[in-house]
């Protein structure tokens, strides 16, 4: 039963995720004094891509075809674990599972990037793994700050334990630490630019360069879901008040809106950093998490 409800929650994520992505785009455009495209533009793009034909390289194997499905499924499973409603993800898994489920999709997508045998794909894949290697310890450390306090890795209990304590120094530190990880994990400026199409600077885009049509639609959609998962993970763990309250859904939407504004402001006020500066950026996150542990 819980699996079914979690699955329905995941379907909800899939429906809403393009909206969140569209909102960030819109806010960003307004901040840059542009009018910007409609909030629903991401949906239009997806529908357009789903109707298009695909061009598939003659070099590729079945891995290339399978990767978008698995990437999509990984994002869906991850979204079903988030403790947004009282039933979700109960007993199914914890934050370790969440991280490793997201890793399934990445594993296959990077393999697919090597499959076509082009230099761009390999470059994108290599950089994606490079950033993943740097992000992983930072992500786990920032999660540990809460998990060690709650003495469990269960996300529901972690959220409840986080809601127990008011704003403390430790919380602010770990929230900032997690926000840095969020930026890196969702591939946004200053780590990666989601809008770039210049071969030498792109990471995620380079990896999926060989994809077109429906496969590309699935990948873009799954990326949007993954971004929403990370945003909601932040909301659940670091802004967890009134989680199961009467007006909880409204609160949730408010918090997500705040997050999109923060991300959009962050993105417009910085520029992309050099690839080898990324470890330093994430080291800041690790350090903040350790400080948070000390301050607890």
């Amino acid at each position: 039963m819980e699996i079914l409800l979690s699955f329905i929650q995941a379907l909800g994520f899939i429906l809403c995720a393009p909206l969140v992505a569209g909102m960030i785009k819109k806010i960003k455009a307004r901040l840059q004094n542009r009018k910007g495209s409609s909030i629903l533009q991401v949906y239009f793009d997806l529908v357009k891509l789903l109707n298009k034909d695909s061009v598939i390289s003659s070099t590729v194997s079945w891995i290339f075809t399978a990767a978008p499905y698995i990437y999509f499924a990984g994002a869906l499973v991850a979204s079903s674990f988030l403790p947004i409603f009282s039933f979700s993800g109960k007993g199914l898994g914890d934050f370790f599972v969440l991280i490793y489920v997201l890793a399934i999709g990445r594993f296959f997508l990077v393999l697919a990037s090597l499959d076509a045998g082009s230099a761009f794909g390999g470059m994108g894949g290599a950089r994606e793994m490079f950033i993943a290697i740097m992000v992983e310890p930072a992500l786990l450390l920032s999660m540990c700050t809460i998990a060690l306090k709650a003495q469990t890795s269960n996300l529901t209990i972690m959220a409840a334990s986080a809601a127990d304590s008011p704003f403390s120094l430790a919380y602010i530190f770990s929230a900032v630490a997690f926000f840095i990880v969020l930026i890196a994990e969702t591939g946004r400026i200053p780590i990666d630019n989601p809008d770039t199409h210049l071969e030498l600077t792109m990471i995620h885009e380079g990896m999926v360069l060989e994809y077109s049509g429906r496969n590309l639609a699935l990948i873009l959609w799954a990326s949007a879901v993954k971004q929403m998962v990370m945003i909601l993970l932040f909301v659940v763990l670091f802004l967890p008040w009134n989680l199961y309250d009467s007006a909880n859904f409204l609160w949730l939407v408010m918090k997500v809106l705040i997050m999109t504004v923060v991300i959009a402001i962050g993105e417009t006020s910085t520029n992309k950093m050099r690839l080898f500066r990324v470890p330093n950026f994430l080291a800041v996150s690790c350090l903040l998490s350790l400080l948070a542990l000390v301050a607890q």
Binding site: S54, P68, G125, M129, E136, Q151
Partner: protein, 673 residues
């Protein structure tokens, strides 16, 4: 009773396997089939014997072998049976695999190899079952020697011989410590029997010495950094099915030895034992993964990955020791279950990948990944098996590596329960983060190993001409791939076996893990709780794929066009694809303080200096521990030897002179008091 006959069956089959080559040596083909079939039967007996011990209780017997030190007692308790099961499972798979793989060695001393192969299996089966100090040391030594000869199988190659000598040297350094540990205990107990060694009263100081000896001795075999240097040399030199056995099973006998000492003989120790193991374990895991990633010889890569996985296993054991020191029995049970589960998982998936690497080598005649590529189309079954192995190694959920890694994470998360205070919290968080780093490095490493070997275009003529290997090899790989999936989806099966294996040790409590429900794995004991449902995750993944499929098909039939990969208008060729060296370049740059690499670019200009230049890019890796630890020792030994050479000239007169001088000195010395 049945278990006893089965145990004799194991010994009988393997011994017959050793001797069978004498009768069949005229025809190598017959030798291959008969000796490997006998080995397979022996392994099958080992599996059965292990299961009988799990269900009917332990087995005690005295082998009718006369030793100077008393009877050689054999006792198969749960722990021994668990390791016997691993030997059986992996040995059975490698025996089937060897039917096809041994064709490589028809002209290269095959009878000797299969005879040693049987001896290797026999010695490992004895190591985990003999319960007698002298007997254990003897079979341990036999195991090391037999594997030395197997590593040295192709002794025409200088690298093989060198690898084998480094291996035998390192393993003997380890054996010195193991013998010391055993003798210190045996002298205190006044008996050579394992049963008498338990709970022997020794002073705390001696116990610490014994602990250090055990850690160093078995640690050398297990490949703890910095004692790991023999591993990446010995594994590539041995034939692939032997590497699979060495990496999958032989290294695990070291874990057996550690568990025997820590759980059985030494009793509860101080906390620093566990902390020390944790520190070495995390260094081993992280450095192993890093070295594996920057390697481009596929078997060396696998050897370094073995180092990494031994680190993960030791993390479980170290956490277990910390919990033991604080009498946290349930948490200790979880930690030891995690470690032993990973022992089994690593045996399965690493053997599988070694077999896959062997298949690639047999088919494409190279183990350098940079010359491979595109094999997924030539060898589809091998590719699928290797993909499953890679997924299991990097701990993707629903494959077996994930469950043990999850349990290890849980054990580390609860470390502050035993190790209170700020240090415990920060230590726990750092260990989790570094284990995450290790996992991510391993993921990158195996994406590289699989992607460069099997995907894109063939990078050389050899890779282009590769074909799928013999059915027997594919069947053996398929068996292990199936085990990866089964034990990933239903960890309850193996954890139940582990409960049987560990239930005999009173210091840990393995009943904390609840396995009653078929879909759920959970533990809930006051402060300590956690749960996971791999089947649920698997079902959700399947649902996700179905949803993706529906979205994909909803818009009518897809029109696909096939075209070449876009390479900015140039005709694509295999040199454009990413290489393993390029894939790991950014990590080499970031970790340049740990792995010193020297990039060398050689340019050979032809007549026209603007066109037709050939560029060679070469990376030389300098290993920190080799240059800091081993080279100085090496040089010191050589310096001492050179010095001794000048004293030892070979002239008899001089030697008589030495004797006289010494005699005079001794006489003076003795008369003074």
């Amino acid at each position: 009773m049945v278990a006893e006959y089965l145990y004799y069956g194991i010994l009988l089959f393997f011994s017959t396997g050793i001797l069978s080559v004498i009768f069949t040596k005229r025809n190598v083909k017959v030798t291959n089939y008969i000796a490997h079939s006998i080995a397979f039967m022996g392994c099958f007996m080992a599996i059965l014997c292990a299961f009988f011990v799990f269900f009917q209780g332990e087995l005690n017997l005295v082998l009718p072998i006369l030793l100077l030190f008393g009877d050689m007692r054999v006792r198969v308790d749960g722990l021994s049976a668990f390791f016997l099961l691993i030997i059986g499972v992996i040995g059975a798979a490698t025996s089937i695999y060897a039917y096809g793989y041994s064709r490589e060695y028809y002209g290269c001393r095959l009878p000797l190899m299969v005879s040693l192969y049987n001896a290797f299996l026999l010695s490992m089966a004895l190591v985990v079952t003999v319960h007698h100090v002298a007997g254990f040391i003897i079979v341990w030594e036999i195991m090391s020697l037999v594997s030395f000869f197997l590593v040295n199988q192709e002794y025409e190659k200088k690298t093989s011989t060198r690898a084998a000598y480094i291996y035998i040297l390192m393993t003997h350094v380890g054996t010195v410590f193991i013998i010391s540990a055993f003798l210190l205990l045996a002298v205190a107990a006044g008996s050579m029997d394992f049963g008498q060694l338990k709970g022997v009263l020794v002073s705390d100081f001696m116990r610490n010495i014994i602990f250090l000896c055990v850690f160093l001795g078995f640690g050398t075999k297990a490949g703890i950094v910095p004692l790991h240097i023999w591993l990446p040399r010995a594994h590539p030199a041995a034939p692939s099915h032997i590497s699979a056995l060495m990496s999958g099973v032989m290294l695990k006998t070291a874990i057996y030895g550690m568990c025997r000492f820590f759980l059985d003989f030494l009793g509860t120790g101080p906390m620093w034992w566990g902390v020390m193991i944790l520190v070495f374990a995390i260094i081993t895991a992280a450095l192993g993964a890093l070295y594996a990633f920057i390697e481009h010889d596929i078997k060396r890569l696998l050897a370094y990955s073995t180092v990494e996985n031994m680190g993960i296993i030791l993390l479980g054991i170290g956490a277990g020791m910390v919990f033991l020191s604080c009498q946290q029995t349930i948490l200790a049970g979880i930690a030891f279950s995690a470690a032993l589960y990973h022992v089994f998982n690593h045996a399965v998936f690493k053997s599988l990948f070694f077999m896959g690497a062997g298949a690639v080598m047999q088919s494409a005649h190279t183990k350098n990944m940079e010359q491979l590529g595109g094999l997924i189309k030539k060898m589809p079954y091998t590719a699928v098996c290797c993909l499953i192995a890679a997924g299991a190694i990097v701990a993707l959920p629903t494959l077996n590596g994930f469950v043990s890694e999850w349990l290890t994470f849980q054990a580390l998360l609860f470390l502050p329960q035993a190790w209170s205070g700020m240090i415990g919290k920060i230590g726990s968080a750092l260990l989790i983060a570094l284990l995450g780093l290790t996992g991510a490095l391993a993921a990158a490493c195996f994406i590289q190993a699989f992607g460069i070997t099997f995907l894109a275009k063939p990078r050389s003529k050899k890779a282009q001409e590769a074909v799928e290997v013999m059915p027997s090899m594919v069947i053996a790989m398929g068996m292990l791939a199936g085990l990866c999936i089964i034990f990933g989806m239903w960890p309850q099966i193996m954890l139940r076996i582990l409960q049987q294996a560990l239930v005999g040790f009173t210091s840990i409590d393995v009943t904390g893990l609840k396995l009653q429900e078929w879909y759920l794995l959970s533990f809930d004991q006051g402060q300590v709780r956690g749960s996971i449902s791999i089947v649920g995750i698997g079902m959700l993944l399947l649902c996700g794929i179905v949803v993706a499929y529906i979205l994909h098909r909803k818009f009518g039939k897809e029109i696909k066009a096939t075209g070449e990969t876009w390479t900015c208008g140039i005709v694509p060729n295999s040199h454009m694809a990413y290489t393993a060296m390029g894939f790991s370049k950014s990590i080499r740059t970031v970790f340049k303080n740990i792995v010193h690499t020297y990039d060398e670019i050689l340019v050979s200009t032809s007549d026209n200096k603007y066109y037709g230049r050939e560029l060679f890019y070469h990376v030389r890796i300098q290993y920190f521990f080799v240059s800091v630890v081993y080279r100085p020792i090496n040089e010191a030994i050589i310096r001492t030897a050179t010095f001794m050479k000048s004293i030892q000239t070979g002239s008899v007169q001089l030697y008589v002179g030495y004797i006289m001088v010494i005699t005079v000195i001794v006489l003076i010395w003795s008369t003074r008091w």
